[in-house]
Symmetry: C2
Subunit: 463 residues, 2 copies
């Protein structure tokens, strides 16, 4: 797609150089005015012209290419980053483009200064399309501009990096053939590379945002045609459901994943490196699912898996949301206490206390609460504090050995469960209360696991 007129100009220029004329002078006199005229009317932009409001250009010792870049971006507001040496070309650039320029001087290797200028300019023009043109200037200047451009695209999505390219080179004249210049808008690597979404999916997965990771991996199957991502989508789906306490769904996804990993075609899938951990996690989910179905506290793996899940969620919520962290911890503690109660053949909802037991319970509770036994009320269902007291009364191997003072400190927070803002009340637990709650639950969890608890940690993706 060469311009007819320019083609002729170029041939005439070539003849004149062959006849012994000075190539530089002849170029400036014959070629440049025609080229400039063409770009003023109709610049060539690849893949297509875009309405830039602001352009920023590095300027070295080739002001012609920068002039074309300025005309090609067509921005109203033009900044030129130059060195002390290239300042002398600014006047010429103004004349050639007919634009007001804002000059910014930097040292020729001062990449940090270029970063700072780009940041300042983007902050000054945050909502408009900005072109960063690296055609001219030293490598350091161009690299700095490109670096800043692609770095800041994350925060200013309308930024584009551009440069003036040549499609043909004239070997005889040892310079690019006039008329084959074009302004190229560099694509964002993210837009070009399908597989890049895999990195973003991984980032989400590692941040524990499994629903979003699942969606990304799902889209990757479409965009890359690579079905290995289906297995990652299943994995993310398993953790998503698990985190949402939807154990039957988590189990379904986990089983499907193990099935796929056993197929010949996926034997070398990176997730097979974590096969052992995955199998242990799916077995744990199976246990929890069975426990939730049967409600049989004899399903030790299930009780343990559920309590460990709740404790993990509690730990994760702790910094951001203490009431929520407390809620998870309360429920974990309740389960772990009920499991111990079930070893005595009793149930919290209908403990069937003998009169002697009821009296004993009153006395233990009186000790916790520092009130007379006759002031203690024993309800028909056992709450957290009653469970602790009753297990202690019955000589529970762990709870009977804890110091009385520690349980006195806990009694307030255990009683406060129903008063929590998230349940029926208006209280928000303090960090100290949460800590004592969590540490008792963790102690019980460790006792139940007897050192054999499988890891709930999401497995490494292997890429």
């Amino acid at each position: 797609m060469h311009d007819e007129g320019l083609e002729n100009v170029w041939q005439a220029y070539k003849e004149a150089v062959r006849a012994g004329g000075n190539p530089q002078t002849l170029y400036q006199e014959q070629v440049w005015p025609a080229l400039l005229d063409l770009w003023r009317r109709q610049p060539r932009v690849y893949p297509s012209r875009q309405p830039f409001a602001v352009s920023v250009h590095t300027l070295g010792t080739s002001p012609e290419a920068t002039a074309l870049a300025i005309l090609g971006t067509g921005a109203e507001t033009v900044y030129v980053i130059h060195t002390r040496d290239s300042a002398s070309f600014l006047e010429r650039l103004r004349r050639d483009t007919g634009k007001d320029l804002y000059p910014l001087e930097v040292g020729k290797s001062d990449v940090a200064a270029i970063y700072r200028h780009v940041k300042d300019l983007l902050e000054r023009h945050p909502q408009v399309p900005v072109a960063l043109d690296l055609t001219s200037g030293t490598k350091a200047m161009s690299a700095g501009l490109a670096a800043a451009g692609f770095f800041f695209q994350r925060f200013f999505p309308q930024v584009r990096v551009v440069y003036v390219d040549n499609e043909a080179y004239d070997p005889e004249l040892r310079r690019p053939r006039a008329g084959t210049e074009r302004l190229v808008i560099l694509p964002n690597p993210h837009e070009v590379l399908g597989g890049v979404d895999a990195f973003l999916a991984r980032e989400l997965y590692e941040r524990g945002e499994f629903a979003k990771a699942q969606a990304y991996f799902g889209r990757l199957v479409e965009s890359t045609g690579d079905r290995q991502y289906e297995l990652y989508a299943l994995l993310s789906g398993m953790y998503r459901a698990w985190q949402a306490l939807d154990f039957s769904e988590a189990l379904k996804q986990g089983k499907k994943l193990l099935d796929r990993l056993s197929q010949d075609v996926w034997l070398n899938h990176p997730l097979n490196r974590a096969r052992g951990d995955l199998e242990a996690q799916v077995a744990l989910l199976e246990g929890v699912e069975r426990f939730l179905r049967t409600r049989d506290f004899g399903e030790l793996q299930g009780v343990l898996g559920l309590a460990a899940t709740l404790l993990r969620l509690s730990e994760r919520a702790r910094g951001e949301n203490p009431p929520l962290a407390a809620l998870y911890a309360y429920r974990a503690l309740e389960l772990l206490l009920q499991e111990r109660l079930s070893r005595l053949g009793r149930r919290a909802e209908a403990p069937g206390l003998t009169p002697e037991e009821a009296q004993g319970l009153r006395e233990v509770l009186a000790g916790f609460l520092q009130i007379p036994p006759e002031a203690v009320e024993v309800p028909p269902k056992l709450g957290l504090l009653h469970l602790v007291a009753f297990l202690r009364l019955k000589g529970d191997s762990l709870l009977a050995t804890l110091p009385q003072e520690r349980l006195m400190g806990l009694s307030g927070v255990l009683k406060a469960r129903n008063e929590s803002l998230l349940v029926h009340g208006f209280l928000v637990p303090r960090e100290k209360e949460l800590q004592s709650l969590l540490s008792l639950a963790q102690r019980l969890g460790e006792d139940l696991a007897a050192g054999a608890r499988p890891s709930l940690e999401p497995v490494p993706l292997g890429f």
Copy 2:
């Protein structure tokens, strides 16, 4: 820091050129061997040498600089991205550096191909330091490498972009003065620019991760010395505490923020543009804090603010965590029903029902549950379903007008609150149940607000 020997070599070279020798030939014969020898022994790297395992170089028509880059990075594994034209320099490069090179051919303007190569190479070497050297090659090649490098740093933090720079230029010879070359490791814009953390903080703020945003803004005060970030830290702290239902802390931060925004020095702070919304939100927090302190349902703004907060949290948790979403919705619904009950001068914990009311309640509940009235038990405290039934019995302006069928559908989910996996039971609410719960709560919320509910949306940061 010039090398003595090279200094002499350069002077001798200059003399020889002045005496009419061919500058190219003389450079290759006299200067290059000395320079190469120096770099083989002791390459100059700025700011300091780093143990790169892999290096990737673009190669144009200046193989000398690339040879220095290969020696400067010192990597064992070296990839060279060349064009068809520059392939002829590969052999020379191997000889000069004594390294095995892996050549990768691209078109001279094919940025996408460079992205793809960089991605492939980084995936092949994910855990080691990789240098991307853009010294040689066309602008498109260098820009593509820089773009890929800084883009992928987010996912491969050990990637560095490097280039060979010259500290001095010899104007007489019109080429860089030998011995002043150095390999520069380009800093990441993030490391250079203090204020960049502000963008990351903004990203976190916009994602609703207020604790992390608060920490980032706090650090920005230190790293930039700019105290405007203190106000953003206060703002993030307000939303963090609010989201965690710590209303007194949220109020404290909000009031402090409004105080600061009123100081002369901050009158032009971008947050003052959202002043009206901020004041409304702080007033809402004040209402909630008062309600939580007095527990007086006459504090309508407080009830409304608390219920709206819980409903917002429910909506946010909905996709990821239905049990949690249900929990928030249950609590919001409870508050809104209790507020209506309080208009009748009653309390759910001790409703003080007359025998006629108890009988009437039994009949309404019997209708919901499709069982005979005598089978209905009326507990001493009113739960969610009882509240709905009692308000209906008393002709509540909204609840008495809802169709019986809708409430029949709700009765299961309202009764199921205590059976939730997060409270005392083993059930996980289904999406449909959650939906009916939320829509009733929202309806009650709108009725209470009467169109005047302030926005809970975090205000725009203004940068």
